[in-house]
């Protein structure tokens, strides 16, 4: 019997005190589409880096073709046919498509001189292999995301790999582009190349992969042929959580003045005639595929889309949200999608992160009232149950969940009326996730806060929202009370849109 292409045996890897991988075993067969699933921070990227030789495991062994690999390096991995397509594609935006395709090949062959004719023919060969059409002279930075991805795939295929690792390849793609990508992936497979598809999206895994490995907190928690899984089982494995059945009930009356009333909101090319209302105390889920306009909706309400058309009313009064400051004045708060680059000030303290929005409010004659600031920060650290002895610690000491509580707490200090959460628990561990959900529900119930919760995580929406709207290509396509829908129904609806 031929040995599997790649075999990991009891791999362990730590970074200082953090155990990123523990006793991970995994086999990838030849020409197999294998899905590696796990939430952000579960250890997926560490595992990829071990396979591709970027990092050496502390324990366990890595076998390729049944041969034990000692001291793997990225170069050795490439020689053994392992190619990785990172989420950022590692392309050169300032160079042409042709050059991006040909450079790594030229490098591997140890060439010193560049023949533009050869670069062109290598590039032509590469896109012919992939069976796609690309303008070879275009600068890569001018291509849309899907085009860049094709360049990255074509480049990876040129060195005749036997395993192609794709890290979250669908993140920035629209539904149609995902379909096109899957066709490419199946075509790659038909040539006997194995694909390790790293993802956290259930529908994709079920659709594309043959075998599935789920990791959570650095350990393999489930593995097997895809036929043994359904969405609920994958979610369970990924989150370690039974889907709670409690749900959120809104106890207000529909007759009152809505907290937020949006009518005919349009941003050409992004949003098309979106109307919705949020009553005090409501948690409204916003679902939709990438590119559906859900983030644009949030940004428009947060004053970051100046030229929008349509009406926005807060407490029945029409307002014009043409700057972030104006939106904040009207009580709108926004917890952004990417906590690290959009939410946190990494080298600053917890207190400063917490108070970032409040310093002007906490000042008298331009001077910060320090005692009051310290009191408010400490109070919010307590209220949000942030695990830290004091607020003068650097915010980087906090886990994902605690850091997210800081960003949410930042807004609560300003008594918002409407809290917009974009991916509120991305990269947050399970225990902390439940805590954040509890807090949001409590805020809505007791303070009458309106919440717009944007999420990819359908169980999260079903559990926490009393109403869920679905956006598609900038339009609002459905607005359903949660009792009238379910995770399965939503998933089916989204699948049909894709």
């Amino acid at each position: 019997m031929t040995p599997p292409l790649i075999e990991l045996r009891h791999i362990g890897k730590s970074f200082s005190a953090v155990r990123a991988l523990e006793d991970v075993s995994l086999t990838i067969g030849r020409g197999e589409i294998h899905c590696l699933a796990g939430e952000n921070g579960s250890g997926k990227s560490t595992l990829i880096k071990v396979i591709s030789g970027v990092w050496q495991p502390d324990q366990g062994e890595l076998l390729i073709d049944g041969q034990k690999m000692e001291g793997m390096t990225p170069r050795a991995a490439i020689q053994h046919g392992v190619q990785v397509i990172y989420q950022d594609f590692s392309l050169f935006g300032n160079l042409s498509v042709a050059e991006n395709l040909a450079l790594s090949m030229e490098l591997q062959e140890g060439r010193k001189l560049v023949s533009w004719r050869r670069i062109r023919s290598i590039a032509q060969e590469a896109i012919r292999k992939l069976g796609v059409d690309l303008d070879l002279d275009a600068l890569v930075e001018t291509l849309p995301t899907a085009g860049k991805q094709l360049v990255a795939i074509a480049r990876a295929l040129m060195s005749d790999p036997r395993l192609l690792i794709m890290d979250e390849p669908t993140t920035a793609l629209t539904g149609r582009e995902v379909e096109a990508l899957f066709r490419v992936v199946r075509d790659i497979q038909s040539r006997g190349i194995a694909v390790l598809f790293v993802s956290h999206k259930m529908r994709e895994m079920l659709e594309i992969s043959e075998r599935l490995t789920v990791i959570r907190s650095g350990r393999v928690v489930a593995a097997g042929p895809i036929s043994e899984f359904d969405e609920a089982a994958i979610t369970r494995a990924m989150t370690g959580q039974e889907i709670a059945a409690e749900g959120y009930r809104w106890e207000g009356t529909a007759g009152g003045t809505p907290l937020l009333e949006v009518s005919g909101l349009t941003i050409p090319g992004q949003l098309e005639d979106v109307s919705l209302r949020v009553m005090p105390g409501e948690i409204v889920g916003v679902s939709g595929l990438l590119g559906s306009g859900r983030t644009e909706l949030a940004l428009a309400l947060f004053g970051m889309k100046h030229g929008y058309q349509g009406q926005v009313r807060i407490d029945g009064r029409e307002v014009r949200l043409d700057s972030v400051q104006r939106a904040i004045e009207h009580g709108i708060a926004y917890v952004p999608e990417d906590r690290l680059t959009e939410g946190l000030f990494l080298t600053q303290t917890i207190d400063r992160n917490m108070l970032a929005t409040s310093y002007a409010r906490l000042s008298k004659g331009g001077i910060i009232q320090r005692a009051r600031a310290a009191r408010e920060a400490a109070g919010m650290i307590r209220e949000m149950a942030i695990a830290t002895p004091t607020g003068d610690r650097p915010v980087t000491q906090l886990s994902g969940g605690n850091a997210q509580r800081v960003v949410i707490g930042r807004w609560l200090l300003n008594d918002p009326r409407l809290l917009i959460l974009n991916g509120p628990t991305v990269g947050v561990d399970v225990g902390s996730k439940a805590g954040i959900h509890r807090k949001i529900r409590e805020l809505a119930r007791t303070r009458g806060l309106g919440v717009l919760m944007i999420s990819d995580d359908l169980p999260e929406l079903v559990d926490n929202c009393n109403r869920i709207i679905v956006l598609h290509r900038g339009r609002l396509v459905s607005d359903t009370p949660t009792e009238a829908t379910s995770e399965a129904a939503l998933s089916e609806q989204l699948g049909a849109l894709a």
Binding site: T341, E342, F345, L346, L355, A356, Y359, L362, R370
Partner: protein
């Protein structure tokens, strides 16, 4: 994770190290030339010369706090005092008792002209950087050339020599036995310290320097805040110009050119992160004292000014190497 933790903790150890460095340089210089270095005159002269450089270094630190840099500070300083000097010459003639004895209100107007020049020059930098989104390095290289160029056009090359006596008091006088420039420096440094650490503007500035995108999402007015930081940098540079021209009784388009490197060096040595988000006035003051002791000690050992430049440049490289080494050790 722990690396950043320690870097933050180092913020205070950084000041300690600077203090240690200052003491070491002092001890070293005192040991190398005990009879000449340990005289009151030496320290007195430092209190007259250091303030102008210190103000430029604070200005540089403020620009670096937002991840920028201001290479036009020397141009601003010279332009400010040339304009003030030309104003005085216009009122009181090019020389003679009338110029020397210009009354307080005229001198005050001159100060106003100088500070106003710094403000406008800083505002131009701020507009280029925040509105037109020109990189700070290139924007301030360009405006620095323009400011220096305007100095040349106005003076035709030679220095504007001869300032009123009162103006000279700012650069040469003493009050309560303390050098006036030192008093000016201490007051301004205290104000900047207060502004940076005790006001919303200052804290917001370092938040913006840390992560401009997150700052925008936190509702901070990033453009406006950065704009005002460059206005502040310009005003600080013009105060340095007032001290310089007061001390030397002249203003010229190419005065203080070597101050540019020294201001950057002091700012970096003070623990300012040139990528933004971190910087302290106390650190700048300590680094200033350390380097002034070093250079006056060297001058006493008959080192030429050029050799002092060599050592300043070497010090900048050494401080970079030390910072890198500290990062590696952790």
């Amino acid at each position: 994770m722990s690396a950043i933790t320690q870097r933050l903790r180092r913020f205070d150890t950084n000041l300690l190290q600077l203090l240690l460095l200052t003491v070491l340089i002092f001890a070293g210089m005192a040991a190398l030339n005990p009879d000449r270095f340990l005289r009151p005159y030496v320290f007195e002269s430092i209190t007259f010369i250091a303030p102008e450089l210190g103000l430029l270094a604070i200005a540089m630190m403020v620009a670096m706090l937002t991840g920028g840099i201001d290479l036009s500070v020397i141009g601003i300083a010279n332009l400010s005092c040339i304009l003030a000097g030309m104003f005085f010459h216009w009122i009181g003639g090019p020389r003679g008792p009338e110029l020397v004895n210009l009354p307080l209100h005229t001198v005050a107007a001159g100060i106003g002209i100088a500070l106003g020049t710094g403000m406008i020059a800083g505002a131009i930098n701020g507009l280029l950087i925040t509105r037109l989104r020109v990189t700070p390095i290139l924007a301030t290289i360009g405006t620095g050339q323009v400011f220096t160029g305007i100095c040349l056009v106005l003076t035709g090359g030679p220095a504007v020599a001869g300032f009123p006596k009162l103006w000279g008091q700012i650069g040469n006088g003493t009050a309560f036995g303390i050098a006036v420039p030192l008093i000016v420096f201490l007051v301004v440094a205290a104000l900047v310290w207060f502004l940076l650490s005790r006001t919303a503007f200052g804290i917001n500035l370092s938040l913006i320097g840390t992560n401009a995108r997150a700052a925008a999402f936190a509702g901070l007015r990033t453009g406006r805040t950065v704009f005002f930081s460059y206005v502040m940098t310009g005003v600080l540079a013009s105060i340095a110009g007032i001290l310089l021209s007061g001390r030397t009784n002249a203003a010229k388009s190419d005065y203080g050119v070597s101050y540019l490197l020294q201001a950057v060096l002091i700012s970096v040595l003070a623990g300012t992160n040139p990528s933004g988000g971190r910087g302290s006035v106390v650190g700048v003051a300590l680094a200033l004292v350390a380097l002034m002791l070093l250079s006056s000690g060297l001058q006493m050992m008959r080192f030429s000014n050029f050799l002092v430049d060599l050592i300043w440049g070497g010090f900048l490289l050494l401080s970079i190497a030390l910072a890198a080494w500290r990062n590696r050790v952790r």
